[in-house]
Symmetry: C2
Subunit: 458 residues, 2 copies
């Protein structure tokens, strides 16, 4: 069989062997630049979420069964086996709902790929290629690309059916990333895709609860698991993506082969990754931008706010229609909570989406004064807000492209600030700043061990 004669083998060949050239001005260089930003963003989210109580629960369940210390739980000063580390670090990476988004598919490609890559890089078996900084970055980029291309190739029907696409496609992305780092040849890489595909899962029903991040964390663990198993010569299928009872047919309604493998290495889906300025559902971001604008312009106290009219894209009400969130997790999917905290606190950071803020009586009261109007003419990155105060004054704002959208991306400086704020929560400000610099210079990192040590807070 030709090495690239089927979609599965073509993608496996790319993941295993495609040379990621550093030539400036090329699409690959642009993709690498975005991968560096995604790496930093995911790492920050991981460190910022590492002390979440849900991480404690997950780790307490797995610790008695975990293997010898080989990879760190970052931000926690603990080592465990690589598979458990991929799972727990992946969980931490998503729990704040602050991670990256490939907007065309709504995949969060970073958490599973980063957690799996870091875990196996630290615990690499004898005989595997050395995990230099550039190799880590290449593996991370390839993993994100596989996840995002697969998401595009199986079409919107997959997500619409109720799959959590980051869980499903993410498992294959993590297999690609870790398989590359382990030095799998294309055939073994294809088998790793098969093992990951028959392990892939993720239900939309988990959204808004503790198990949503678990669904994403699993993707990293299952991808790494698949790569490790395939590395032994264990086999699955060389056509798992396109077979009649394979991934695309069973999880979706078919495979767009040209979306999957057309222009591999020239056109990069991973280059379209975006980052959240606010740790909540991404469709809320234009609304928060607008609320922060009118809050600043009016300087109003919550008690002085009589009525807030918000115009939103229809998806806002579908995905984040909750008006009475019971806890911090639910508040991340509540349009009225997002508006209320942005207006009251004039911020929308991690501290605005906590259990305490979700149950605060003043915030709850303000939530009842937010009145949504669905407007089909708005894009998902647009919104309009009209604030009326009890003294009759009125303030308006309209957002054309939310902060963090493809048209209005977060700047490098804003991403650095986000990373440092998140990482400081668990490893302290000095480590956070040093790690930020190291991640920015990852191409020059011959030995990643100092990076792991910094991220453990030591």
């Amino acid at each position: 069989m030709e090495p690239t004669s089927t979609p599965t083998l073509a993608l496996a060949h790319f993941a295993a062997l495609h040379a990621i050239a550093r030539t400036p001005g090329t699409p690959t260089a642009a993709a690498l630049a975005e991968a560096r930003r995604a790496f930093l963003n995911s790492f920050g989210c991981l460190l910022g979420g590492a002390d979440d109580p849900a991480v404690d629960l997950l780790w307490s369940a797995l610790r008695p069964h975990a293997g010898a210390p080989a990879a760190r739980l970052f931000g926690r000063s603990v080592r465990t086996d690589a598979l458990t580390a991929a799972l727990v670090n992946g969980y931490s990476s998503n729990i704040l709902d602050f991670d990256d988004t490939h907007l065309a598919t709504v995949i969060h490609p970073g958490p599973a790929c980063l957690s799996a890559v870091l875990a196996i890089a630290e615990a690499l078996p004898d005989g595997a290629p050395e995990a230099t900084g550039p190799r880590l970055l290449d593996a991370f980029l390839v993993g994100m690309e596989v996840a995002c291309r697969l998401g595009v190739a199986i079409g919107p029907g997959h997500y619409a059916r109720g799959w959590h696409i980051t869980g499903t496609c993410g498992a294959l992305g993590a297999a690609a990333a870790t398989g590359r780092l382990l030095g799998l040849d294309p055939v073994r890489m294809a088998h790793a895709f098969g093992i990951a595909a028959t392990s892939a899962s993720g239900l939309g029903e988990m959204m808004g609860g503790m198990s949503k991040s678990y669904t994403i964390a699993r993707a990293g663990r299952e991808g790494l698991n698949a790569a490790l198993i395939a590395a032994t010569g264990f086999t699955s299928s060389l056509r798992v993506l396109e077979a009649p009872r394979g991934f695309a047919a069973v999880f979706a309604d078919g495979l767009d082969e040209s979306a999957l493998v057309g222009g591999l290495g020239e056109r990069w889906e991973a280059a379209l990754d975006t980052y959240k300025p606010y740790p909540c559902g991404i469709v809320l971001h234009p609304l928060i931008d607008a609320c922060l604008q009118v809050a600043a312009a009016s300087s109003a106290t919550p008690a002085a706010i009589e009525r807030v009219e918000v115009k939103v894209h229809p998806l806002v009400m579908v995905l984040t229609g909750r008006t009475d969130p019971k806890d911090g997790l639910e508040s991340k999917l509540s349009f009225s909570h997002a508006c209320a905290v942005a207006l009251a606190d004039r911020e929308a950071g991690v501290d605005q989406f906590t259990d305490a803020r979700a149950t605060d009586p003043a915030i709850a009261a303000l939530r009842t004064r937010i009145h949504p109007v669905v407007d089909d003419s708005l894009g998902t990155d647009q919104s309009a807000v009209a604030l009326t105060l009890s003294d009759g004054r009125r303030f308006e704002a309209r957002i054309e492209h939310a902060t963090g959208s493809v048209e209005n991306p977060m700047t490098d400086a804003a991403l650095d600030a986000k990373f440092i704020a998140l990482a400081t929560r668990t490893i302290g400000a000095a480590n956070a700043r040093a790690l930020c610099t190291m991640c920015r210079d990852i191409d020059g990192l011959d030995d990643p061990r100092p990076m792991f040590a910094l991220a453990a807070g030591s």
Copy 2:
């Protein structure tokens, strides 16, 4: 919320708390009797498959990352953590394709439930209920019941879409079995179902290869993993089965609630479990019965066989239509191989479906003289065979109900003999006989540790 007000909670309540009475003559007593047979059958398959080369590969991949020795890999004299043991033992249980079948759903309920139950029973955390023999049996029965009911409730469209139903429904069955053994209350059990559901997977494309048994093994591991995580108070969803983006809607086309929870504890799907007399695709069994009959009647050598006409149910050609299997695994899904070895060897045991037998020139030649005719009027447990010898003699056989079907079940004596033959392969005849007796008397087993020791070959 009422404890049984939704399908998910009703099933969780049953799994966690339903008292399994031993009253003779009741449906529950009949289900328990079948569970004892299924337990023995699955344990035998586990021990018979434990030395398969694919198990070596899987274990070599996982060993470097596995946890402290707490549960045995049966038939291998090795201990590992409970999650890895559930996976590797589950793999061994299915690799011979010799396990049980719930015919209405084509689920193999035994392997994942048994492997997960045995692994956590041996490694039970402090504070969990004691794992007596009756408790093991109850947990195993409840797990099988949950898997089979769920399979019935999501309908044949799930399998038809390409899902490997043992992998998907099996994860929830294993969660039920291990959750019961861990003493989960109904709410935590429901959360365990949720975690297992968002981890469930299994592609039909894996059939006929090394990863098919991996798909089944995963079900046990993911079910146990879900129960362990839910035991900490980690939450998912209390309506994962019926929610719009829950298990039935996403993996299938809806949920038949009465099939799922109607008559729980009175009507038992697990009581309809069946066992294979031959280690290959179950649709081949009536064909093998018929070939063994004509082989015995004719006493013909393979060279003397001129032509074999076989009438089969349409599914035989769909599922087992291979005529040129390359290895032992493929030979298990080849109607012509099954006929050829039954005619040539007058047996159809583990030794007839090996790489050596699949590539034997005399068997390959005989396979070309098997001529199938699809007959819509036949049931899946029926067949007809007409053997013509080169001297002109002709022998015919017709099977109304294959050995191992619901109407023609394997006898207890035949199951014992199957168990002893399989177990002897890895733990020796004396241990095999002692373990058979112990499994038969599991209700009287206060302490399961002697059972674990025997199954390790010590």
